[in-house]
């Protein structure tokens, strides 16, 4: 066991933190969100310069050769600063799909473009009727000569409105809830038949509903093995959960720190409200939950590359429950302890609260994953 960062990790951590401290103050972030696309192209280029966009990819594709712990570190920092750029969508979700399922040609073409910031990906798997069920896919892909035709719709595709290329799951066989018969396709966003309606999420990040209507693709668009994508979908989802969990921890940490500041400076009845023992203990409870959440985010990071699929799924579920519940507790109480100001759009604490809320409702909420764990009791 070793909880120390390597020298490389320390350097990376420092430079990310410095960049965000310089360029991601709350007001700067507000500006990024207000821009037409809802995030900062300039910051995106900075991330590329720092090598963040190549973090988890092998060096042969221009990547950094890092692992889940590196992603965890970056996501925690992103969580603290409420970063809104399409890092999770492109590098973690889309990138993992390519990394796990891509053939040499696909990796060679796509990964370097991710690394240099010129290509953004969207993970177009979820559908409106599916909620959290990974196998609930109604979008179909039917053979069309050598190629394929896609028909269907994808829902809440993170940063789907700005993605240059979508990784789309579709049924090439099987029935609605079958694990078998799922296939992934690489779909350039400008392919005829792809229509997108972008919107802001509750936390200010962007997403899109995507409709696919007679979308014609060539044979090279298939990512991985036809009919056998479920395992990849699961792994991409797990990588997403692990990364988002770390981001959630960063958000909780920052919300807790802001709350401590507020308790120290807000004066009522002639003294700082933080002199109230009840609020001190609440802040202590929050500290405990931040640390428990951090432990669980570490567990998730550690498990992303676990080979035993059952063990991996079980631990990711545990982490999702743990981080989810702790994060709700920490951010709800951050708002509560701030009082009225915590309820306002112009104050950061409510944004942490909502970021964490989006995490909770991505890829299964705490109750969903607790149910999966409960199924295994005995």
């Amino acid at each position: 066991m070793d909880f120390e960062l390597t020298e490389d990790q320390r350097l990376l951590n420092d430079s990310v933190s410095r960049l965000l401290a310089d360029r991601y103050a709350f007001d700067a972030r507000r500006g990024y969100i207000k821009s037409a696309q809802g995030w900062s192209q300039e910051m995106w280029e900075k991330y590329a310069e720092l090598g963040l966009l190549g973090l988890p990819f092998p060096e042969e594709y221009g990547g950094f050769g890092g692992g889940a712990v590196d992603i965890m570190m970056v996501m925690e920092a992103f969580g603290r600063s409420l970063v809104v750029e399409p890092f999770l969508a492109t590098v973690v979700l889309g990138g993992s799909a390519i990394k796990y399922a891509g053939n040499e040609a696909q990796k060679g073409e796509i990964l370097p473009q991710i690394v240099d910031g010129s290509l953004k990906l969207g993970w177009a798997h979820g559908e409106q009727q599916a909620r959290y069920d990974l196998t609930d896919v109604l979008t179909t892909a039917t053979k069309d000569g050598n190629g394929w035709v896609l028909e269907g719709a994808k829902s809440v595709v993170l940063h789907g409105d700005c993605a240059d290329m979508l990784v789309v799951s579709a049924r090439t066989g099987g029935d609605r809830m079958d694990k078998e018969g799922l296939t992934l396709f690489l779909v350039p966003a400008n392919t005829p038949g792809v229509a997108r309606r972008g919107y802001a999420m509750r936390d200010g990040t962007r997403a899109a509903e995507i409709s696919l209507s007679t979308v014609k693709l060539g044979p090279a668009a298939v990512l991985g093995t036809v009919g056998d994508a479920y395992g990849i979908i699961e792994r991409v989802t797990q990588a997403g959960i692990a990364a988002f969990a770390a981001e959630s921890v960063g958000a909780c940490e920052a919300a807790h720190a802001m709350t401590l500041d507020y308790l120290r400076t807000r004066v009522q009845f002639g003294r700082p409200i933080g002199t109230n023992q009840v609020l001190q203990h609440k802040a202590a409870d929050m500290l405990i939950e931040v640390e428990q959440a951090r432990s669980m985010a570490m567990l998730a990071a550690m498990m992303v590359d676990e080979e035993d699929a059952a063990e991996r799924a079980r631990n990711i579920s545990m982490a999702k429950v743990g981080v989810g519940q702790s994060s709700r507790f920490v951010t709800q109480n951050s708002v509560q302890l701030h009082g009225g100001i915590g309820m306002t759009e112009e104050y950061a604490v409510g944004h942490y609260f909502r970021r964490v809320m989006v995490f909770e409702h991505s890829w299964g909420d705490s109750a969903y994953h607790l149910g999966l764990l409960a199924d295994q009791v005995g």
């Binding site: 809440v156 509750r202 509903e209 306002t344």
Partner: protein, 406 residues
Amino acid sequence: MDLRFTEEEVAFRKEVRDFIRQNLPARTRERLRLGYSPTKQDIVDWQRILNKKGWATYKWPKAYGGTDWSPTQRMIFQEENQINHAPEVNGFNITMIGPVIIQFGTPEQKAHILPRAANLEDWWCQGFSEPGSGSDLASLKTAAKRVGDDYIVNGQKIWTSTAHHADWCFALVRTDPNARKPQEGISFLLIDMKTPGITVRPIISIDNSHHLNEVFFDDVKVPVANRVYEENKGWDVAKFLLGNERTGIARLGKSMERINYAQELARDVRQNGKPLIEDAGFRQRVAKLQVQAKALELTQLRVVAKAAGNSDGKPDPFSSVLKIKGTELLQDTAELVMDIAGPLAMPDWAKELDLLNRESGDNEPLIGPEWAGYAAPPYLMLRAASIYGGTNEIQKNILNKAILRL
């Protein structure tokens, strides 16, 4: 001791329910059922319907157009409004300024203000909180200087709910900066929101809605005739107002309605390939909330029954129990509804598509199921429920001071 409702009470409940079902505009009903806040027009329309029936001012004394209902009847009336998706009457008008004017107003104030408040001709707002004063209300600083027959008001109020809708504001201002105690030297003024020098600045809430405002007063002239009660005795008025019957504070009908709504939704949403309503964890969660609602219902009945036998007008410290448990339940039931929608609750579709104003004839198709688009805002907004009206922490201080005495 007989804990059942009397036949008269049961009949009263039916009368109220039937009236609401027959008279509540369908669009209002649907909006509230979906979880959205009522629009200003929803509230105005409904209050005028109730006022015509003589029910808008149900909390006022009969002599002033009220109903003489028992506390139990009032509770039933509130509950039925909530369960049947009716907006609540404008509390500033009905629960606050009305009773204040009845208690402290001059005959002229009574004659002019009460009927207009009852029929929502005037929309009132409350100017109490200030940036420096939260739970410590008496530390307020907005100054009113007497100049001839006017006060000249300068200062700032904050968290002023619906100030942007309001025609009038009742405000606490400092008329004697040299008083010995902060509670002394405060006066209670009625301020016409159209007076020059008033600026209303929106505060956007975390659900992206506009309920709250900052209100700036810059040399605002308020006639002395618009003062209620004596100069420098405004704290007495405020205490009366804040101590008013608070049994409706739990908003239990709303929570009950949400629990029912959640079960309805969960029949159509799937988890692990079957309806969510069949999921064991979900069922346990709903059952827990039902038990909590039942316990609160009984406790509320007990507090209401006590109020019925006790007309000393003092606030019952047990209303703090209702506030704490009621707001927790409101928060938990809103969270339940949001959790059912899951990922579909996360997009801010309302903002993008201006769903709020769809009534004005927008024909663009919805981007997702309408109910899911309304699922998150109540969850977000109700975080304030344990903050406003005295935080739940303050409520426990009250319980300690009034009952435990530790």
